[in-house]
């Protein structure tokens, strides 16, 4: 009963069956697979470590900037409440701030704008500011050629004269490689609108000046500094009534800073008192003449220390009246803030490290990943040539063999990626905690970290799969006996 041989196409192995076959293979070769996974894990952990560290670093730098901004709030408001903004500053604000931002609302309030005027200024400010910024960015010679010696808002006022405009255009023509930031059409409408714009801006300035006068009246002769100490109370109300955009958050931050400044003044004055100086010297175990205000702040780092300073202050007749209920709390606050500022300064220094070096390091770690993972996959495919040959003898298609290896690599890459990215972020976070303590957790970039994790896992899977494709393709294409011979 001999059978005839008829030859057809071999059916494709289903994805589910291939997957099963692969998973069984991994299960039985757990140890070898584990080695591959470890290599992938290390590579991915290395990359994720750098990514995590840099994410945390840049978040800390952002945070430090915001904190320092807050600390500088006092200077900012002192100047706002004493001198009106320059016309240029007003123009810049209208050119760049979002239409519905509080700054614009405040400015419009100062100028007593109606809706039409607000829209008018919002419309023309960007092109005016663009033109001014453009001219100011040119070198001195070109500036002279175009607008003579004018600068700032005067540039546009200067150009309002048709003769000057003619000169501007004539001289601009031969400047190669330069393009005006506004079209001719815009320029013309700007020039025609300019007197109106100037008028609106000066109305804002005048309004600001009026508001300053109103605030001063409310101070009734006291120093502005005294007022700021009560920014979260009546004074804040007065500032708000005068038309300033003065949120309660800003007010309380400002009041606290102002009170802190008063306390700093107080402590500076205590050092003139010899008995206080001696007491601090004894406590710090130093000579009296070596004592600086820094020593007092060091003492204030603890509750007990702050209480001790208050106690000493009470004994100084000339100063004891200046002790307020919150002075102890203030002493602690400033001491903490000093420490924080020192630490923030560290972070600011670190800013240099982020940026370019970060991309270089990430690139480097990616290269490590590519090399490490392709080597691992290359090895694990090459050492299975005999198995591939056997499978081919038994009727496996080239595509099935490749699929087996790609699935296997992806699974190993997935496991390695998950473990590696978690290990990498933990290590990165740990390193940052060691260097910066709890500061590492302030402004923790959780969403970016999660994105980084996903990215690393993806990189692991992708690189492993990609690295498996070439050797398995090579192996699958060989005739079975050739593959066996290679071993």
């Amino acid at each position: 009963m001999p059978k005839a041989i008829n030859i057809m196409d071999q059916p494709r192995l289903g994805l589910a069956k291939t997957f099963n076959l692969t998973v069984n293979g991994i299960r039985y070769r757990v140890f070898r697979s584990a080695v591959t996974v470890v290599v992938i894990t290390v590579a991915i952990a290395f990359m994720m470590n750098i990514v995590a560290e840099n994410l945390i670093k840049s978040a800390m730098v952002d945070h430090a900037k915001a904190r320092l901004e807050k600390i500088r709030i006092e200077a900012f408001w002192t100047s706002r409440l004493m001198t009106p903004e320059s016309s240029r500053a007003i123009l810049m604000k209208w050119a760049s701030a979002p239409d519905d931002s509080p700054e614009i609302a405040e400015s419009a309030r100062f100028g007593k704008f109606n809706d039409k005027e607000t829209v008018f200024l919002l419309e023309h400010a960007p092109s005016a500011e663009g033109l001014i910024a453009f001219v100011e960015s040119l070198d001195y010679g070109r500036q002279r050629l175009l607008v003579r010696r004018n600068s700032g808002l005067d540039i546009i006022s200067h150009l309002s004269d048709p003769e000057n405009m003619e000169r501007f255009k004539r001289n601009f023509e031969p400047m190669r490689g330069l393009r005006l930031p506004v079209t001719d059409e815009n320029l013309n409408s700007l020039i025609s609108a300019w007197p109106r714009v100037l008028e609106l801006i000066s109305r804002v300035r005048n309004g600001h000046a009026d508001a300053i006068v109103a605030v001063k009246r409310d101070l009734k002769g006291a120093r502005l500094f005294e007022g700021l100490r009560h920014a979260d109370g009546a004074f804040g109300e007065a500032v708000r009534n005068a038309g300033f955009e003065f949120s309660s958050d800003t007010a309380s931050e400002l009041a606290r800073n102002a009170r802190a400044t008063a306390t700093i003044e107080l402590v500076d004055q205590t050092l003139d008192n010899q008995s206080f100086r001696r007491a601090v010297a004894v406590r710090r175990d130093l000579l009296p003449q070596e004592i600086t205000s820094g020593d007092v702040w060091t003492i204030c780092q603890t509750e007990a220390g702050a209480a001790w300073v208050i106690e000493q202050l009470r004994q100084i007749e000339s100063l004891s009246w200046r002790i307020e209920p919150d002075t102890a709390a203030m002493l602690r606050f400033i001491s903490d803030r000093n420490t924080e500022e020192r630490r923030l300064a560290n972070v600011e220094k670190m800013e240099m490290e982020v940026g370019e070096r970060m991309w270089w390091l990430i690139l480097l770690s990616m290269i490590v990943c590519v090399v490490g993972i392709s080597n691992a996959m290359l090895m694990s495919v090459t050492e299975r040539y005999r198995e591939i040959a056997t499978f081919k003898c038994l009727g496996a298609l080239d595509s099935s063999i490749m699929l087996i290896f790609v699935i296997e690599a992806s699974l190993l890459g997935l496991v390695g990626g998950i473990v590696g990215s978690i290990a990498g972020s933990v290590l990165g976070l740990g390193g940052m905690i060691l260097r910066f303590g709890a500061l590492a957790f302030t402004n923790f970039p959780l969403d970016q970290m999660l994105l980084g994790l996903l990215f690393s896992i993806f990189v692991g899977v992708f690189l492993a799969a990609a690295a498996a494709i070439f050797p398995s393709f090579k192996a699958a294409r060989l005739a079975p006996m050739e593959a066996m011979r290679i071993e």
Binding site: P2, I5, D9, Q10, P11, R27, E387, A479, M481
Partner: protein, 262 residues
């Protein structure tokens, strides 16, 4: 080519119907050269043979004579340098990769000297994997695999991995695997070379039984003289050429001299 010399008329020992005798494998001027660092080694120098359905043919020859190379060419495991292999009048060189896979999967069963079992699979899984490649359902494959393991006498050890089995048992699993998709041809490359006398005998008996009962064409490259007792024809290869092909009854008288030769 003297076809009378190379292909003496076949008279199988059991009285099979002559009408059913067809040529299943035919080679025409089959040559294979290996080129390793510009040194050309000619392993096969133009082999012409015809192998019939249901036949048990032994390929004999000293090491390095080209037995294994011949075996690989006939099984479609390697590409000939020139010449052709026809399997049931189909030129193997003309087959696409997918058709070749079909051929290896269902029409030819391979048995190797070193078993080549997949180390991480159980005996049953090793037997069922060709069925998986053929698209058989997992349950069917398991049942069929157990039946075939029963034929080779390893039903009780289906869950053992290759390292847990003796050489003979491994080779029996390999035979079961080769039979998985009921092939027409069973190609054996020195199946008993790694085994002791008794186990080798068992393997040969299984092969003989499959040849008799399932009418599988068995092509067996071997050193083993016991093969003489069970094969229909013998083919000697020396230095890549067919030295002689003879029916068993013609050879039996000469056994002694052949034994001395090797």
């Amino acid at each position: 080519m003297n076809s009378d010399k190379h292909n003496p008329p076949l008279t199988p020992s059991d009285a099979r119907d002559k009408q059913n005798l067809r040529v299943i494998i035919r080679t025409v001027r089959l040559e294979k050269k290996y080129v390793i660092k510009d040194i050309v080694t000619v392993a096969l120098k133009g082999i012409d043979v015809e192998i019939f359905t249901g036949e048990f043919i032994s390929v004999m020859g000293p090491s390095g004579s080209g037995k294994s190379t011949f075996f690989n060419m006939v099984g479609g495991l390697d590409q000939p340098s020139s010449g052709r292999v026809f399997i049931d009048e189909v030129d193997v060189a003309q087959l696409t990769a997918v058709e070749l896979a079909f051929l290896r999967c269902r029409k030819i069963g391979y048995i190797f000297q070193s078993y080549n079992l997949v180390q991480y699979m159980t005996a049953l899984e090793n037997v069922t994997i060709p069925m998986t490649f053929a698209g058989l359902h997992a349950d069917e494959a398991r049942d069929k695999g157990m039946r075939i393991l029963d034929i080779v006498g390893l039903k009780e050890r289906w869950f053992h991995r290759p390292i847990e089995m003796s050489g003979g048992q491994q080779q029996r699993v390999a035979i079961a695997r080769a039979m998985a998709n009921d092939p027409s041809v069973l190609l054996c490359d020195e199946p008993t070379a790694n085994l002791d006398l008794n186990t080798g005998k068992e393997i040969l008996e299984i092969l003989q039984r499959l040849n008799k009962e399932k009418h599988v064409t068995v092509i067996c490259a071997t050193h083993d003289h016991r093969m003489l007792n069970i094969c229909d024809r013998l083919m000697w290869i020396r230095d890549g050429e067919v030295e002689r092909i003879a029916r068993r009854d013609e050879v039996n008288i000469e056994v002694g001299s052949i034994g001395g030769e090797e």
